[in-house]
Assembly symmetry: C2
Homo-oligomer: 142 residues x 2
């Protein structure tokens, strides 16, 4: 029986990241919270459990994750950067009303078509939509 934390540890090692306590905690948070959290949110949620945690560490760690391809950086929201621990192919929807980011399906062809071009070496594909989610539509009749 392998614990969740052990799986996270293995995941980090597989991506060439030395698994420290903080790194494991942050990656575990990302994977158990598929809500595209910001640095602020991650810090606020982990802080009580890891009292010594520094916001700089959260920044550094997430940057490390992104550089090693262990997490994705989402820049949909111009206010703050959000992070995604789900590397599977999917698109995002950003609600202009409540600011929430939802996962939505993405057709594989979007990725494939682009890689046909030989003008660029593509490493990441991002597809997202903006608008209003159902809740916000009902509220304001957008």
């Amino acid at each position: 029986m392998v614990s969740r934390k052990e799986n996270v540890e293995k995941y980090l090692v597989e991506h060439g990241i030395k698994p420290s306590f903080q790194r494991i905690s942050i990656m575990d948070y990302l994977r158990t919270h598929p809500t595209h959290p910001s640095v602020e949110t991650i810090y606020n949620d982990l802080s009580p459990r890891i009292p010594t945690l520094s916001k700089t560490t959260v920044y550094n760690t997430l940057k490390l994750f992104v550089e090693h391809g262990a997490a994705l950086m989402l820049t949909i929201d111009e206010k703050t950067t959000h992070f995604d621990g789900d590397l599977s192919s999917h698109a995002h929807f950003f609600c202009l009303g409540c600011g929430q980011i939802y996962d939505i399906e993405m057709d594989a062809s979007v990725r494939e078509r682009a890689s046909e071009s030989d003008l660029f070496t593509i490493t990441e594909t991002h597809l997202y939509y903006k608008g209003y989610c159902r809740k916000c539509c009902e509220k304001s009749d957008k």
Copy 2:
């Protein structure tokens, strides 16, 4: 014979924007510079010609354009927001080496498929890729 500025003026009015001198200048800049400029770039380039121009005005004006659907805000680059005066359906490529944003073709299906969903009211579709452009590939053999 209609001047370029007159066309810009008409374009603004069509989008419900009162065409002031600054607004016309900024929209004209956007349309004649399809390079996805940042506020900084626009300000620096227009400043010599419009000595009284304030950076705040550039910020305000671009926000106004985006709200009225007269320009697009690009958040590909997490460092700064870029703006696009080209409303036609296209995708973007962001070079991680030089930071430049290139236009690339976008299949219409990307937009259509999403609007099928009735969970969200979609107002904008953004598709972009990250990686290295040819110049940067050659430089560093990425």
